[in-house]
């Protein structure tokens, strides 16, 4: 099976979506049935050293038209059996290429893009997909809502948590970040003013009470960088909790597991989350996580079996409760990996590809472009 992936970014990209794309590509490439995976990206990679075998990522092309030409050229050269469209906005292009080459089309949705009403030109290609992959049940629900006929073809493929997120020496981790005996509350997220929904404000507003309750021995650690930082710093000042709030800026991939381990609670009361891989990373490191009962968070928390997801008005209380409990870190981590680990992800991708190989008769008619690969 030959696969062509159309993505905004993948290898060398930054952020959750690039990571998900990499995981999906890697999992596909590791299948024996897959001959190669070609990847067309738009954002230039920061570094390119971990591209797996059988995968080729073409040079990034920012311009829309240029990207279309490049992707078309790749499709003509590679004659894919399967096109994976990793961004809703590339839908029309992906569908055109699928039609031209006779390939099956999988559309992949991360969540947030389907939250606004999507236009007909984008729903069209979605409707013509052989399968639609969503990161969460919530996203799937929104897709089916917009296009009921997709119900039987829309599947959930959740994010994957990597092996390097596991419990470790907590004391050592706390020393590394200079934490003392305070209770540490952690949020890891881009501080994006436009998004503004990650819920930092909500945690900051609980801080005055928590500081009173714990005699000042609570710290709120905000990891991540972005244009919302100044506003959050201002809010911390006006609430009189600035001394107990620490902005770490962007944390390197290498340091992240230790930061999770060093914390007592991972709290991200975000109101709009396609999935929320960070909750899983925290819990995989043995740190309890708490979020709101919205969107894809319910999935990451396994409906409350792994971590708490509560209605917004119960958040302060739930946060206090979470600070008082100390779960069995190894057990929590084991359960997270069992459901969302690399193995579970591999199995899901393999099942999906095999169901494609097994399925009788392509939905699409003969390719428009004939000839051998």
């Amino acid at each position: 099976m030959r696969v062509l992936v159309l993505a905004t970014d993948a290898f060398g990209g930054y952020g959750g979506i690039a990571q998900y794309n990499r995981d999906l590509i890697q999992a596909m490439a590791s299948q024996a049935a897959v001959d190669f995976v070609d990847v067309a990206v738009r954002v230039a990679p920061l570094s390119l050293d971990d591209i797996p075998k059988k995968v080729q990522q073409a040079q990034a092309t920012r311009g829309r038209l240029h990207y279309c030409f490049r992707a078309a050229a790749m499709a003509v050269r590679a004659r894919p059996d399967l096109i994976v469209n990793a961004h809703l906005y590339h839908g029309p292009l992906a569908l055109a290429l699928a039609k031209a080459t006779g390939a099956r089309l999988i559309s992949q949705l991360h969540g947030t893009e389907i939250w606004r009403d999507v236009s007909a030109s984008r729903l069209g290609p979605l409707r013509s997909s052989d399968a639609v992959l969503c990161v969460s049940r919530d996203t799937r629900q929104r897709v089916v809502e917009a296009a009921p006929q997709l119900a039987a073809r829309t599947h959930v493929l959740p994010n994957m948590v990597r092996r390097r997120f596991h419990p470790g020496d907590r004391a050592e981790a706390r020393r590394r970040f200079g934490f003392g005996d305070e209770k540490i509350i952690l949020t890891v997220a881009r501080l994006d003013g436009r998004k503004g929904y990650k819920g930092h404000d909500r945690v900051l507003h609980t801080m005055p009470d928590l500081l009173r309750q714990y005699d000042g021995k609570v710290r709120y650690v905000i990891a991540g960088e972005g244009d919302d930082r100044a506003r959050l710093e201002g809010l911390a000042l006006s609430l009189g909790v600035a001394h107990a709030v620490r902005f770490t800026g962007r944390v390197s991939d290498e340091a992240l597991p230790d930061l999770y381990r060093a914390s007592d609670v991972f709290a991200m009361p975000s109101t709009g989350e396609g999935f929320g891989i960070v909750y899983l990373e925290a819990m995989a490191c043995g740190t309890p996580a708490i979020g709101l009962d919205v969107g894809g968070v319910r999935d990451a928390m396994l409906d409350g079996q792994l971590g708490a997801c509560v209605p917004v008005e119960q958040f302060p209380e739930a946060l206090r409760a979470a600070l008082e409990t100390s779960p069995d870190a190894d057990d929590l981590s084991r359960r997270v990996h069992a459901h969302f680990g690399e193995n579970a992800f591999q199995v899901r991708v393999s099942d999906m590809l095999h169901s494609f190989l097994k399925a009788e008769g392509a939905l699409r008619s003969e390719p428009l472009l004939k000839g051998s690969a």
Partner: protein, 556 residues
């Protein structure tokens, strides 16, 4: 039930009439049976034929088979959709049940309303498949099977289509002279097949041809003693609506034990909560079936035949005359863009719509089969819904229902003959969404299995070439002549009234007196519907209007 090898597990709702033949065939091919249970046939048949298995079954069924080796689930529903089967899939967990209520009771499925549910209910008087009142619950289409395995649910696949059978029949119509003999042969055979049972089989007997002929054919099939159950209403005594005298005539004619069960307004009102409780999806009907099933249960029956489906199969409804007539008359003018809407608005302005809201829309819908059928069957037309439900629900509901497209899909492939088209539209819509569903919950509530010899895929295959030759009247004459001892003339000549319940009278009586009788009739009905189905966004006034319509429909 689990197979002897423990590989397959089956759960099954319904009745398979060709068990004995299937078992014999399987045994002849060397299959070893370990029990006397009929259900074991399903396991062996699935082991042998896999997904092709439901096409071999004759009967009414919703079944699920779990394969322990392949770790896959197989679901199937009978070709007519006699037995309901609902599914819910949130992307992680796939759930299924034979009732919507059972899925909701599990508490894991969202109760978010499906706008097409409430809208469709007001449009048709029942929620049209595949929709339910809930966004996350859908019906598995009739005649479809579905596989759910490690990669999730596969799209449902059609294994049988009543549309195809009607279309086939219309393409090779039977000679006119053969109509009576073919109806006789096929219906006799179907009744015989539907009598296979371990317990006594009774019959619902009205004053009409369908149930009378069934009774006669039961006798021909060798059933000496038949219990016939007739529903009578105190309010109808000595009127043309009273079914009891003619039913008594038929019963005596065939020597049946006749049970006439009289229902009064007090009993109706007392049972109303139980009726709404048992109702799986909102329905404007089913009350009649409820009481006749109750009477059958009281008479000690566990199985009864019903004449349901006779009107669909043998052109019993006025729609067989009206729909083709409207279409041939209006096909040309309705092609003028906007003319239908304009005519409706003009006639409405002239006040025509107040008396007859459907008349003003004749040009708008009547020019093609789906629209003409909608016009014939609809409780309310789309443009009337804004007065009943909030505008957003109506807009979303209509957009999702796509009623005309759905009707067109239900008659695809379209039979070439007018009578076959109407028969198909009636069978795939009104009968499936309303009559069969009502028979299911109303019968189950009284532990009564209602069998429908006139709704049978094998019977349909035999009679679909006859359908083009039928007109309102001839079909019933043929059926009346089917038993060895023909139905009495008085039954055949009787003006058709349908099997009706005087709920309309009761509701109207309650409305006439004002403050004193709050809590009775249609207002009570409105509140009950609101409470039981939580159509919270419907205005109470709208529902009252709807339920007056319900009552009117019931009295029709």
């Amino acid at each position: 039930m689990t197979s002897a090898c423990e590989r397959y597990v089956v759960i099954f709702n319904g009745e398979i009439y060709n068990y004995p033949e299937l078992r014999r065939e399987l045994e002849a091919r060397g299959t070893h049976f370990t029990s006397a249970s009929d259900t074991e046939v399903l396991l062996h048949l699935y082991a042998e034929c896999g997904a092709d298995m439901p096409a071999k079954l004759r009967g009414m069924f919703a079944l699920a088979i779990w394969d322990n080796h392949a770790r896959s689930l197989f679901l199937a529903r009978d070709p007519y959709g006699i037995k309901p089967l609902y599914t819910a899939n949130d992307g992680w967990t796939f759930r299924f049940a034979s009732q919507v209520k059972a899925l909701i009771a599990g508490r894991a499925i969202s109760r978010d309303p499906e706008p097409a549910g409430a809208t469709g209910f007001l449009l048709w008087g029942s929620v049209p498949e595949p929709f339910t009142l809930y966004r996350d619950i859908r019906a598995l289409p009739a005649g479809h099977s579905q596989i759910i395995d490690e990669a999730g649910p596969r799209p449902p696949r059609a294994y049988a289509s009543i549309a195809e059978v009607f279309a086939d029949g219309a393409a090779r119509p039977a000679p006119r002279d053969d109509v009576f003999s073919r109806v006789r042969g096929a219906v006799s055979e179907s009744v015989k097949a539907h009598l296979v049972a371990d317990v006594e089989v009774g019959v619902f007997l009205s004053a009409g041809v369908d149930s009378g002929a069934l009774l006669g054919l039961m006798r021909d099939a060798g059933q000496r003693h038949v219990k016939a159950i007739t529903l009578a209403f105190g309010e109808f005594e000595n009127t043309v609506e009273d079914e009891a005298p003619l039913a008594r005539l038929t019963a005596r004619h065939y020597g049946a034990e006749h049970v006439v069960r009289t229902v009064g307004r007090a009993e109706f009102e007392a049972e109303l909560p139980a009726i709404l409780q048992a109702m799986d999806q909102p329905s404007i009907d089913g009350v009649n079936t409820w009481f006749v099933a109750k009477a059958a249960h009281e008479a000690g029956l566990k199985v009864a035949l019903s004449g349901l489906g006779g009107d669909e199969l043998l052109a019993g409804y006025p729609s067989f005359r009206d729909v083709p007539r409207w279409v041939s008359l209006l096909a040309a003018p309705s092609r003028v863009p906007g003319l239908g809407r304009a005519a409706r608005m003009m006639l409405t302005a002239l006040g025509v719509g107040r008396q007859n809201p459907k008349a003003v829309s004749l040009l708008e819908y009547g020019g093609a089969y789906p629209g003409a059928y909608l016009l014939r069957r609809a409780l309310y037309l789309p443009h009337e819904l804004d007065a009943l439900l909030d505008a957003q629900t109506v807009r979303d509901g209509l957009r999702r229902l796509k009623s005309l497209a759905a009707l067109r899909a239900s008659m695809t492939p379209a039979p070439a003959r007018a009578q076959s088209r109407v028969a198909l539209l009636e069978s795939a819509n009104y009968m499936r969404n309303q009559l069969l569903r009502d028979a299911d919950w109303a019968g189950m509530a009284h532990s009564l299995e209602i069998r429908t010899p006139l709704v049978d895929f094998d019977l349909l295959k035999a009679l679909s070439p006859v359908t083009p030759r039928l007109s309102p009247g001839t079909g019933k004459q043929a059926l009346a002549a089917a038993p060895n001892l023909q139905l009495p003339r008085a039954i055949v000549d009787r003006r058709r009234t349908g099997f009706c319940v005087p709920t309309g009278h009761w509701a109207a009586a309650a409305n006439a007196t004002t403050a004193a009788s709050k809590g009775a009739g249609s207002r009570a009905w409105a509140r009950e519907v609101l409470k039981h189905f939580g159509v919270a966004n419907a205005s109470v006034a709208g529902l009252q209007k709807a339920c007056t319509g319900v009552a009117a429909e019931l009295a029709r």
